[in-house]
Point group: C2
Chain length 373, copies 2
């Protein structure tokens, strides 16, 4: 009996070994091409006309369990004859989708991917969406995105903002522009509205179609640290909202009004943000309603905490958005409350999306035409 | 005898096991702070006042040999009680130094690091150098770096260039500027002269000191692909030099002269590049000497292959540089040959450096004051 069991166990072990040693059979290379986010020196990830993505990367010889996490789901990887690990799959979701390699529980970037900042530098795939036309680069005049430095007295150092100027900014030196201050979420940095959210492309396309006013878009980092503030994993200073307020209201806005041809009054100034950026739009912007006439809260911030401080004579619009899978009922209720108070409010729910870039790209696309009219 | 050897082997194995299982003892956290290249959500890498760097990161439980490669040298890592791997070391070199994690022979980025593009996205440390003053950000007026898009007929798509405009570009709309076209090396992309080379900071500082003419610096990607060109690991098209020539001479330069307030003549146009960018400066720039009066070849390109095509009435300077550990004798000989031909040439050798950013930062710093005078 014992011998039978031992033999059985050995056979099972052998089977298990064979399963893990199963060699990935590469499909014919025909019909596969690099994705838009495959970095220059890589051949993978690739995509085919069926919308399948092929990830291929190395893992240590010692690795036992190798997989990728793509668009929020895990996919086991298989080793090929050359020792590379492979996954071929369609994407569980459309739009901007992060992915990472997971080797025995530890997460790494695929060296083959371009990167964006989202809770650290991360690889991604831009998955086509049926409604993606508004954020694809078209043959229209393009604005510029500028790395702009200003001295920040809160931080006692020079600070970078990303500033979008529309295509006609350099051709008509007598023209002045309204400004949207646009904030990212807790996981991102100042460049992510451009690199992950495609804000510049969306604005270029909508300006070219005459759907929105040409405007300047200023993207500041949400995080502002006083010297000695603890940084690190949470990346949040104890007084982050107050620090941000000092930076934005008393330093960034005066600098932008001095450095660019802005129309420097509240009727030509808007503030919006996603997630943590929406919370800052509430905690800072809606507490300075003498500064901004238009507000966008995308998947973040509840704008009715202190309605008495809202200057109804100035505020023209509070616009709340979220994904259908977030809290549509709440933003609808917020909007009703604000309207009942005599504050013009509206909302937008992004179909079939969650707390993700596809929600925020659409939110920006819905918000921009409502500004400065 | 056999038994003695077996016992000895067992003892050695045990020793080896104990050595690898040795637990890293963390130093007192006092005196350690995040480096300038530690990403926002990380606490590591850290640096102390002795110039020691402390790297700390995760590796799979299955990992056998874990090390980092930092500034070209390997350093073994040790596991701590929380399961993180650690290296504490001074840097073998000053200036911009890449590092990566190597797990059983496979290279990954440290998720704790900011990234630059150098043969893929890579982590780095900016190690202080005794001569670093010229590339540190000072309290002077700052120019802007712009993500500028133009339609590239060679590629049949929109193409990004990085464009530095000096601080007074937006304040004096009647002023026109000379232009330096500045190319990266084979491992980099269009942004690396800004993000790794600190070209904008160097120009800001030297303009503020009155040492150089305010100028526009245009940074194009070296790689230009026709539709259907093979991309991939080598990232080189079969006709890369010809493609680049078409893009730069017939598309990028006319676009820049249209989009910016340039002085559009050869006496106010320069071309320079590092490594592959130096080769392109030779193969494209020095074959269009009706276009540029000034040339910089930093660690790349030998400018005497076809001296007969050089328009001596236009060319004012050919400037060759390299690190002391590269080929100083060759660039000295090149310079002598050019001068003997009646072409004004000069060279610069960067002390104690090799094929690296410290050489190229210094080269730019030496080159800029010679331009447009």
């Amino acid at each position: 009996m014992k011998r039978i069991l031992t033999t059985l166990a050995a056979a099972l072990l052998l089977l298990a070994f064979n399963a893990s040693a199963q060699t990935f059979k590469a499909p014919s290379p025909e019909g596969w091409s690099r994705t838009s986010a495959t970095q220059r020196q890589s051949e993978f990830p690739k995509v085919n006309s069926k919308g399948e993505y092929w990830f291929r990367f190395r893992a240590p010889e010692t690795a036992k369990e190798v997989k990728i996490n793509f668009a929020g789901k895990d996919f086991p990887a298989q080793k090929d004859a050359e020792g590379y690990w492979n996954v071929i799959t369609t994407s569980p979701k459309v739009g901007f989708q992060l992915y990472s390699i997971i080797i025995d529980g530890v997460k790494y970037n695929d060296p083959g991917s371009e990167v964006v900042y989202c809770n650290g530098w991360a690889g991604y795939i831009e998955v086509p969406s049926p409604d993606d036309d508004y954020y694809l680069m078209r043959n229209v005049p393009h604005g510029e995105v500028r790395e702009h430095y200003f001295y920040c007295d809160v931080e006692k150092s020079w600070r970078r903002a990303y500033v979008y100027t529309p295509a006609d900014y350099e051709t008509n030196h007598s023209k002045r522009y309204p400004v949207l201050y646009l904030q990212h979420g807790a996981g991102e940095m100042e460049q992510e509205w451009v690199h992950s959210g495609f804000a510049a492309i969306i604005a270029d396309n909508m300006i070219a179609e005459g759907k929105i006013e040409p405007m300047i878009i200023v993207m500041n980092n949400d995080f502002v640290y006083r010297p000695g503030d603890t940084r690190g994993r949470l990346a949040m200073s104890p007084t982050y909202s107050e620090n941000f307020e000092q930076m934005l209201i008393y330093e960034a806005i005066p600098d932008i009004d001095k450095s660019y041809r802005t129309i420097a009054d509240p009727q030509h100034r808007a503030m919006a943000g996603l997630s943590m950026g929406g919370m800052l739009t509430n905690s800072v912007g809606l507490h300075h309603t003498d500064m901004f006439a238009y507000y966008g809260l995308f998947s973040g911030g509840t704008p009715v905490s202190q309605p008495d401080i809202i200057r109804k004579d100035i505020v023209k619009l509070v616009f709340e958005t979220c994904g259908e899978q977030e809290y549509p009922d709440r933003i609808k209720a917020d909007t009703e409350k604000l309207n009942a108070m005599g504050i013009n409010a509206a909302y937008y729910v992004s179909p079939d999306t969650a707390h993700e870039w596809q929600t925020w790209r659409r939110s920006l696309h819905e918000f921009l035409p409502l500004l400065f009219r």
